[in-house]
Subunit: 390 residues, 4 copies
Amino acid sequence: MSEGKALRVAMIGYQFMGKAHSHAFRDVSFYFPNLRPVTLQVLVGRQEERVRQAAARYGFAEVASDWREIVERDDIDIVDIVTPNHLHREIAIAALRAGKHVLCEKPLALSLEEAVEMEMEAKKALGINMICHNYRFAPAVQLAKQWLQEGRLGKIYHIRAQYLQDWMISPDHPMEWRLQKQLAGSGALGDIGSHIIDLARFLVGEIDDVTAVMKTFIQERPFMVENEQDVTGKVDVDDAAAFLAKFLDGALGVFEATRFATGNRNGNRFEINGEKGSLRWDLEDMNRLYAYFVDDPADCQGFRQIQCTESVHPYLQAYWPPGHIIGYEHTFINLFATFLMAIERREQGIDYRNLPSPNFTDGLYNQRVMAAVERSAENGKWEKVMGSAI
Amino acid sequence: MSEGKALRVAMIGYQFMGKAHSHAFRDVSFYFPNLRPVTLQVLVGRQEERVRQAAARYGFAEVASDWREIVERDDIDIVDIVTPNHLHREIAIAALRAGKHVLCEKPLALSLEEAVEMEMEAKKALGINMICHNYRFAPAVQLAKQWLQEGRLGKIYHIRAQYLQDWMISPDHPMEWRLQKQLAGSGALGDIGSHIIDLARFLVGEIDDVTAVMKTFIQERPFMVENEQDVTGKVDVDDAAAFLAKFLDGALGVFEATRFATGNRNGNRFEINGEKGSLRWDLEDMNRLYAYFVDDPADCQGFRQIQCTESVHPYLQAYWPPGHIIGYEHTFINLFATFLMAIERREQGIDYRNLPSPNFTDGLYNQRVMAAVERSAENGKWEKVMGSAI
Amino acid sequence: MSEGKALRVAMIGYQFMGKAHSHAFRDVSFYFPNLRPVTLQVLVGRQEERVRQAAARYGFAEVASDWREIVERDDIDIVDIVTPNHLHREIAIAALRAGKHVLCEKPLALSLEEAVEMEMEAKKALGINMICHNYRFAPAVQLAKQWLQEGRLGKIYHIRAQYLQDWMISPDHPMEWRLQKQLAGSGALGDIGSHIIDLARFLVGEIDDVTAVMKTFIQERPFMVENEQDVTGKVDVDDAAAFLAKFLDGALGVFEATRFATGNRNGNRFEINGEKGSLRWDLEDMNRLYAYFVDDPADCQGFRQIQCTESVHPYLQAYWPPGHIIGYEHTFINLFATFLMAIERREQGIDYRNLPSPNFTDGLYNQRVMAAVERSAENGKWEKVMGSAI
Amino acid sequence: MSEGKALRVAMIGYQFMGKAHSHAFRDVSFYFPNLRPVTLQVLVGRQEERVRQAAARYGFAEVASDWREIVERDDIDIVDIVTPNHLHREIAIAALRAGKHVLCEKPLALSLEEAVEMEMEAKKALGINMICHNYRFAPAVQLAKQWLQEGRLGKIYHIRAQYLQDWMISPDHPMEWRLQKQLAGSGALGDIGSHIIDLARFLVGEIDDVTAVMKTFIQERPFMVENEQDVTGKVDVDDAAAFLAKFLDGALGVFEATRFATGNRNGNRFEINGEKGSLRWDLEDMNRLYAYFVDDPADCQGFRQIQCTESVHPYLQAYWPPGHIIGYEHTFINLFATFLMAIERREQGIDYRNLPSPNFTDGLYNQRVMAAVERSAENGKWEKVMGSAI
């Protein structure tokens, strides 16, 4: 058990991601007992009664309604931002300037402009910052990363990545914040497309150039207004986004993010093909990595199904014996362990310059790709990821 | 959040199952916030330093070395038994007599005699008792149970169930307690066979008659004695057990539990065939239930792969949106939620006579099947499950 | 192309197997052009009009109604027996005595007594004989055999094999010959159980001892009598048979053959576990072999899915480039190629003593296993495969 | 059996496709006995000895070296073109003008110009014409088509289709004709991309607009010249092509064809998402269709695995009982049955105006898509499929 003083967390927001994050904070010390302990100090939100309920359930000591006060409090070490996207910028910058360690949900910002500003602040900040692309932290994905870094796949030719969902296929699904550009920035692109962009950057490298299409299949939806069910609004974000990509190192990418892939609840998948082998992964079956190696004997070549639950697999020593699977929430626990480890190293003066990944710079690069996708979807041309004026 | 006073837990034992149970106690209130809160009060074990470390990691307030004192303490509500099997009987009976709520790891006992005694005590006890056949509590298995109860599969013809592992295939694997009859009772049969017997009883019903084979492939193994690596012992439990079963309701069962199924880390699988449909499940892919219905139109009949992560699926409202999988540990959380719910109902005088399942009576019935398997493996004949003198 | 004179075939019977066999005879020379060509000479059956139609479709030059005349004709080289089981013995013996090469469908006989007689005749005969356990000839199964022979799985611990079908689950399915003991010998056991026994003998070795259960779920069924739909008969064969087996070399076997496994059309499956690895195969996905090797590095162990369509795989050079699958009918084509090759070698005086497998001796050994299964299902005891008086 | 006079076939070319086609001609009458019989009359090729060997193996009555003479012979009914792509145009036009029924391998032509010319000739011709996009004729694909036509998937939102191969990943793979633009027209795009374009057009409808990338990963390869292994050539076709597509009816398409997807031997796959359901198919597992329907009850929604081997499935009555799979070659047999049926109907004056699909018009539309892909890959813009001057 770590002897260190507990790190106190203020969390801004309390919905789906609030639940995932507070759970991860509670569990991380159990599975990674050598890390600094964590205290859930303040939960911040505007609807007092709801915040109070959430705080009781999640285990926060206090509640508050004004995030500005909270992020400056001396007794707060970590600011965790799980609000709708349009609030990320302001909160993150305030927290960074206050010297806090900052966790921010993805996508980093509403726009490339915002992301640039946030990343500049992050570069100057004393605290650790990370962005919650949690799927990197599935052990199978970490294993893929190890092998790619070691060159076990050789030169990479292809990545095809999809994030397929279907929870909005009903025209009756209401105009929630994720369907409004001013609150969400974009639709499927930012919400789920950003995850596969992050995985591709993590595993294959930087994208140079994209051509894209974005589409809104259902353009008008009802607002959730009591007693006024016929008030509808215009959906101004994408239901689906697809793009072709050229990577700096020569690989080709094919990407697709959609909320209209009927039957796919959470189909975050990729396949990577290299000269020496290939890898496949699927979030709905997230404990398995499928791997093919060209060096296998000619009569027994084939994708092998690797249950990534061995003690030799990344992060697995924290959990259970072989064959006992972990789930969605453990991707957060692993990410948070990485975050806490980085805080500890920084506070000990080790790795002073290094940040764990993915951090705000990754968020910015991701946003650059998304911005290029949006420009291309607009103008019909290939767009350089670094081609923006910003 | 429940307003009730916290239930205080004493846990006897602290290895693999100690970790799983203490985690579940910590998490259950987060996911099921309406249940009575739980406090991890005392962790009991004989090796003081190790117990202390475990208690710190798991979050117990105290440690102790003598379980006899602890199970009688007034401030203990729940006694959780995660020791090697040979200690179950004595501790459970003491805890039951002391009026505690008792959770006991499986198999219930070393022998049918012990199980009979334990169940008699449980019947007389005031507290709730359960046995930790946690795999019943995978949402996919609960869904299977619902459908079977509703008759959606009609009359059942077949169950074939396997629990396949391979962690002992190396002859160098040491003579741990699970390989010694006096500590474990049996080998693969009690350790993993008991799980598939429980699933079969839960889903299909009572077994009437069995014929069995048990086998020890590696009969001599090294003890883990420092500086004396050549001390070996004779394995006196089964490496593998298989049996045919006739169910009271006419179904046929084929069962196999083995630690020598190379490549299978945790292959707990079943297929059930009924006149109206079939079901398949596999622990390594535990979020999915595969279901076939004869009433589907002729041109689109086939096993459907149901990702049991919808809010309509059992226990799922406690967790995440559709498509976000849960893992091994959640089977314990669900079992523990059921246990806590039963305690609450009993303390409120509701359901006074009813016990949740699986309880010590299930443990006894399970042991009867195992005893019949052992008798049959010994004498080569079909043995009635209720055919024992006891 | 082979320069040899065409081998002339007389086929007795013309239903499902008649179609499969005549197709294989037609195709075998196309895929294996170096073999002796084959002529479909006479098709024999009792219902003249139907035989004539079948002969036209299958491409036979003549039809006949009396097999006795045909099997003695000088211009017939091969007698192919695809009748219901009760006719196998008489026809096969006549054909063997007449010096013909004989192909016989499985199971070899109605009873062990018949099988013993047939095998004795086969031993004395000049011609080649084979029994049509065609599933041995799936390339994936042949590959499994190669590896097992080379010792790539080490000592074998387990085989579990199932043949699961569901085409008789309706109580309205009529009393066809396969449901009558005097015509079929047995039910699921002989019809599909014999296939998995054959695969187990081929891959793992001889079975020493069995304990079994056989069951008839639907005991009365309608006859197909025109204008008399209410005539029913008693089913006197098994709908399902299951047995445990001890192999001579120490492996344990678990076998199940049933026509009541709803949703399984043709689920002929096995898994073999050895000390160095494991194999899985499924007829419904017959081009793939799944293989696990313990020697794989610790971080990338897993069953690999081998698409057995490479030119290095058994029989595949006859067919298509990698990734182009073959189907059910090719198992017959491969078997027939083996049969024709053996005829050629025998006629050239090569391999004079050797017979290809599976032959009538395999059929007899298979029948011994089935007889032991039937005895055990009757008397409830373990029965030695070689334990019969015969 | 059909009473009609046999249709006599002249086949031009004799490699891989020559084998597939001649086998299909041999087998089609066996499985579809009511069709006109077929005689393999003349095999045409330039290398006399090889043609003679192939003719003997495939069963052709004659050989010839000059296709011009042959396509005009009165005793030839069907001209089947299986040459490298650069010969399609000249032979097809001659055969069409000679009034023959014409089968042509895909892609139809080297260029859009050629395709336009060929299609115009086909429109004027008396004979039936088809192009061999055989994968349409997998029963699972035909079943998908039926359901799409019946509207069982509702409005279509997405198709993602891949054709992934890896047989050229070695830099030592020689400069065969498929790697030379003047002989092949294009690389992966025409060879395998044309197949997924055909499937998409068949199942979803016409493509309006595309943006594309094409890439040659290995740009120089050795020629197969005896004694001169160091002669290399420049690969001037694509190793991989990917494109985004907008369909006329509003669906989005994502397409990828590559010879560099290591581990994928023949990965021709698609997924289609509609408002009422989704479908998945994979050539390597071609007997199965995976289908999801939104109308399934909430607790049992999931992709069902439909083994398309039931008698109610398209073309299946010709083959085997449920659960007995067919293979790659049967896609040709089904296509050829369709072709022969169309010939019969035309000769009987039925359906005089109708042609079976896919025919030369389909080939032309396919070529328009490929031409747009090539233009877009060249100029970086979205290109209208009908936007060419031609």
